[in-house]
């Protein structure tokens, strides 16, 4: 598996402590003075900016390696500390070591036998594949067992308890004697190597006394570059500032100590040095005030550079910035295929694909190069080239001036960075990238304009809309990447969601309405209308179907179901109930009066209406079946064609909706008002009976709770009844009802709230109760428990809410907003943690799921080894399909008898749950969109 030219590979990496000797050995210079630059602006020798530690100014040379700015990686220096100082990062380990070892002889306070047993256990653990964490926990246990002993088992010395005063001071509990770092170091020095192994420390690379610093490594200047301001002043890095502090105090401490100053003064300075060194490592150590800049801003020291979202790890090492990418606003284009993306010419001229020149393509490539970076022609678009990379690695920028010349000199083995052309494979992505469908491969279509465009069917997987959303595009640079993207990431490969094995890409909104118009009650089209619909399937080889002849007039006509059948595979068969199904107690099947029983045989739609259950995303049965049985490419073609057919149908029919659609006749409005008044009166009665104590208490509930339950029930009924009355008067010819019933957009609940009655507003699932003392608003009397006083809205959105109703509605709405805000942030964090726990798991060729070490996590993927996106709604085998194949139409009868017997089998149950979850999800993400657009990323 060794790649060409690679002779060495990294076997393992070990992190350990560095000894003071090693710090001095690797040091390029000793730092003794806190001054950085002299009067002429040159760095002072043995100062913090000593040129031995690397260079940051162009033109200068490093005094250690003699290299110039970008060549010299920088070299460490060191500061000799006058007195030893504890390293905060190791304070826990130091405490553990001090507690578990004897203060006199330094031995681990366990008997020989115990130590022997522990060592054997550790060996065994390693042998049985115990992770480092387990070993660490085990040695922690060892330390715990050893600590807290009164007497050392080896030298018999009485032990004094040690307490840690955060962050860095140790104190002997009995006489309150403070242990100086020097004493700590002496104790650590005494611990024998053998005992360290038992405590999980490898003495060959890490002696505990190294955790108490006697020398401080000074990072190279390249790590802490100073910036020259416009005014000519120099501004030093935070680390340099901190090191200056350390040096100053270190100097003073040394002078005072050497001059024999009083112990008190020396100790104070020592503590100050400890503070500076501590904050140099971590300026957010709890228990000490953070060191601040002159402006009052806390300094960003070593730990702050690494930690957190903006730290080195998360923002620089795991987060990468890339070239060959573009980002712009998205807009819809229903005429593109689902696997295409419209790229603006402007972006296409910047984005390039490397083309390796060989004997076969050299003439063609030469032509492209000769056109230069701006061929001038944008319509039709012709690709140019931006760079030529010669075989020796030199990169030549092509300009319109040198294009001809560069093209002349083109040779085999050069690489040309050619501009994007139609058909290139690119990755297309929208944040937040929550699932794998958030990044899919598309084929490029160069287009005029300034936005990325794609088919509306691809909105659901990206969760995109066009209210200002932006998306990213990445151009693949290698053949391997392109092949992989084409096989795994293309849109059609992701039609079936791995979440539940159903389609996630499918018709949306108007496409569903269009399919409904095309098929519902089988409308007739004359030649012109039929042609108008069918010609939209341009380019696809579909024969014009044979017309029917009207028996009376003798005219030719085509039916909607016939037109729809043209896009179905020839041998397609399926049976299901459409979304408009009324769930009658006895299903009349083919004779369904609502045309809701869909039956397709041999690629002909015999009866039924195509709506969201047929071709919609996440529910589309036909789509599901085609993607599974006929492959992803057939499914792609089907979706494209259905989209076009549906648009043809809806344009032929004409479709619009407005608030006028919620108009109901006055008598219906009166009926609704009367009914809700009845309900409100009933609530008043309930309240009265509660107040005079005649209300029958429900088991397990207080009297007040009983009242609330009853009231909620009555008012809930009021809204449902209003919705029912309104729905009765709206009828199936109403556009809003068509959308709701066919599953295109909106629900009957939305409609009944607009036409009938908004209903009870709730916060935390209860009627509104908070606000003022014993009442919700000052418009009501204290203690009023009636319907209006507790947030019932008897008006509809259309008739308009009263002022109090409006306020209550805002209360309920606010809760929803807060909930989604909390949910998104929480689920985002959970997602992050889940991903970091699962990211390195992979499915191996033997069917097991393993982590990077090779440890088995699951003996068989998902326990049944099935890929969820290739299951039938969670089941590995589709029995219905098998029956249908074997028994033909008899299977349908069998199928439905089974269903009615069991009354909702496992699959349908789970699917209902799924729909419910999905609705929840989509709400959540809608709000997320708002955040994204508003935040302006």
């Amino acid at each position: 598996m060794t790649a060409r030219g690679i002779t060495k590979r990294i076997g393992s990496i070990k992190f350990s402590c560095v000894s003071p000797d090693e710090i001095r050995k690797m040091s390029a210079t000793k730092i003794i003075t806190a001054d950085t630059y002299d009067d002429e602006g040159y760095p002072i020798d043995m100062g913090l900016m000593d040129p031995h530690m690397g260079v940051i100014e162009p033109g200068l040379r490093c005094k250690t390696c003699g290299c110039k700015v970008d060549e010299c990686p920088g070299h460490f220096g060191h500061i000799d500390l006058a007195m030893p100082v504890i390293h905060v990062g190791f304070i826990k380990d130091i405490k553990m070591l001090l507690e578990s070892t004897c203060c006199h002889c330094g031995r681990l306070m366990l008997s020989e036998d115990q130590i022997q047993a522990r060592r054997e256990s550790m060996d065994k653990m390693e042998e049985l594949g115990g992770g480092t964490i387990e070993v660490k926990n085990f040695s922690k246990e060892t330390a715990k067992d050893a600590s807290g002993k009164g007497v050392c088992p080896y030298c018999g010395e009485e032990q004094v308890k040690i307490k840690l005063d955060k962050p860095t001071t140790f104190r002997e509990v009995e006489d309150n004697h403070k242990l100086t770092p020097k004493e700590v170091r002496e104790r650590l020095e005494k611990i024998p190597d053998d005992d360290l192994v038992t405590l999980g420390i490898d003495p060959s690379t890490c002696r505990p006394e190294w955790m108490v610093l006697t020398a401080l490594a000074v990072p190279p200047v390249t790590v802490r570059p100073s910036i020259t301001l416009d005014s000519g002043d120099r501004s030093e890095d935070d680390l340099t500032h901190k090191l200056v502090d350390v040096l100053r105090i270190n100097q003073r401490l040394r002078e005072n100590r050497d001059a024999g100053a009083p112990q008190l003064i020396v100790e104070d300075l020592w503590e100050l040095l400890q503070y500076h060194v501590t904050t140099y490592f971590d300026n957010q150590t709890s228990g000490i005030p953070p060191a601040r800049h002159r402006s009052g801003r806390p300094l960003k020291t070593l730990a702050q550079r690494l930690k957190g979202k903006e730290g080195r790890f998360r923002s620089n090492l795991s987060g990468k910035r890339v070239n060959f990418s573009a980002r712009t606003v998205i807009s819809p284009d229903p005429l593109l295929s689902i696997n295409e993306v419209g790229v603006p010419v402007f972006a296409a001229r910047e984005l390039t694909v490397p083309v390796h020149v060989n004997e076969h393509n050299i003439e063609k490539v030469r032509e492209i190069v000769a056109r230069g970076p701006e061929p001038g022609l944008d319509n039709p678009y012709v690709p140019g080239a931006n760079y030529v990379i010669r075989s020796d690695g030199r990169k030549i920028r092509i300009t319109s001036r040198n294009a001809e010349e560069v093209a002349e000199r083109l040779e085999v083995d050069y690489t040309v960075e050619r501009q994007l052309v139609d058909g290139d494979v690119v990755l297309f992505n929208r944040q937040p990238s929550l699932h794998r469908m958030s990044m899919m491969a598309h084929r490029v279509r160069i287009m005029p304009g300034r936005t990325f465009r794609f088919n509306l069917c691809v909105c659901p997987p990206y969760n995109a809309d066009f209210d200002g959303d932006e998306m990213n595009l990445h151009v693949l640079q290698s053949d391997e990447a392109r092949a992989e993207a084409r096989i795994l990431m293309q849109v059609q490969e992701n039609i079936l969601s791995p979440r539940y094995g159903g389609p996630i890409i499918g018709s949306v909104h108007d496409h569903i309405t269009g399919a409904y118009f095309l098929t519902h009650n089988n409308p007739r089209f004359d030649r012109e209308a039929a042609a108008n619909i069918l010609f939209r399937l341009d380019g696809e080889d579909i024969p014009f179907p044979e017309p029917y002849i009207d028996e009376v007039t003798g005219e030719q006509y085509w039916t909607g179901k016939q037109l729809f059948s043209t896009v179905l595979p020839d041998d397609f068969r399926t049976t299901f109930k459409a979304n408009i199904c009324q769930n009658c107690s006895v299903c009349r099947k083919e004779e369904c009066e609502y045309d809701a029983y869909v039956k397709i045989r041999d690629g002909q739609l015999l009866c039924g209406t195509i709506d969201v259950k047929g071709v919609g995303n996440s529910k589309g049965k036909i789509l599901d079946r085609i993607a599974r049985d006929y492959g992803s490419d057939r499914a792609r073609i089907f979706i494209n064609q259905v989209t076009r057919l549906a648009l043809g149908a809806i344009m032929n029919h004409g479709f619009s909706t407005g608030i006028g659609d919620e108009d109901i006749p006055p008598e219906a409005a009166l009926q609704i008002t009367n009914h809700s008044q009845e309900c409100i009166d009933k609530v008043s009665e309930l309240v009265a009976s509660y107040q005079d104590g005649t209300l029958a208490q429900m088991p397990g509930r207080s009297l007040r709770e009983t009242l609330e339950v009853n009231v909620m029930q009555v008012l809930g009924k009021a809204r449902d009844e209003a919705g029912r009355i309104a729905g009765k008067h709206l009828g199936m010819s109403n556009p809003a009802v068509i959308m709701a019933k066919s599953g295109a957009r909106g629900s009957m609940l939305n409609l009944s709230q607009m036409a009938g009655c908004v209903g009870q507003q709730a916060v935390r699932g209860e009627r509104l109760s908070r606000g003022y003392w014993n009442r919700t608003l000052p418009h009501f009397e204290k203690g009023d428990l009636g319907a209006y006083a507790r947030g019932f809205c008897s008006n509809s959105y259309k008739s308009g809410l009263s002022p109090t109703e409006f306020f209550f509605h805002a209360m309920g709405g606010r809760e929803g907003l807060v909930d989604t805000a909390v949910r998104t942030s929480r689920s985002g964090y959970m997602q992050r943690r889940l991903v970091s726990a699962l990211e390195d798991l992979k499915l191996t060729s033997d069917g097991t799921v393993r982590n990077t070490v090779g440890t088995v996590v699951q003996f068989r993927y998902g326990e049944d080894g099935a890929d969820p996106s290739r299951t039938v709604r969670g089941k590995a085998i589709d029995y219905d399909d098998l029956f249908a194949e074997v028994l033909g139409d008899e299977a349908d009868a069998l199928l439905h008898i089974d269903n009615s017997d069991i009354g909702g089998d496992y699959g349908s149950l789970e699917k209902d749950e799924m729909e419910y979850i999905e609705e929840e999800d989509s709400d959540e993400y809608d709000d997320l969109d708002m955040d994204y657009d508003g935040g302006g990323e």
Binding site: G129, T855, V856, R860, D864
Partner: protein, 88 residues
């Protein structure tokens, strides 16, 4: 030592899957069949209530023994997993 404190047999509980202690031969055969080494197996602690129950039947169970766990699975009716007994 474990047995005397056990007041309830967890293995009899409906939600606890079957645990079987494999003999050394069985364990080796299983590992060979699966092409795995002992250190690649998932772990189960010696202090696990399930292991304690098994100890009342088989006597003390050493670290390094393999336990076979047969659990009901929503996707595959029955699912067999193996775990390596470790310290703890």
């Amino acid at each position: 030592m474990a047995a005397e404190n056990i007041s309830f047999n967890v293995l009899k509980h409906d939600l606890v899957p079957e645990h079987h202690l494999l003999t050394e031969d069985e364990a080796v055969a299983m590992l060979n069949r699966k092409g795995m080494t002992r250190d690649q197996l998932p772990k189960i602690r010696k202090s696990d209530p399930g292991i304690k129950i098994l100890e009342t039947i088989h006597g003390p169970i050493d670290e390094g023994r393999v336990v076979k766990i047969v659990r009901k699975s929503e996707t595959a009716q029955e699912f067999v997993a193996y775990r390596l007994v470790t310290r703890g």
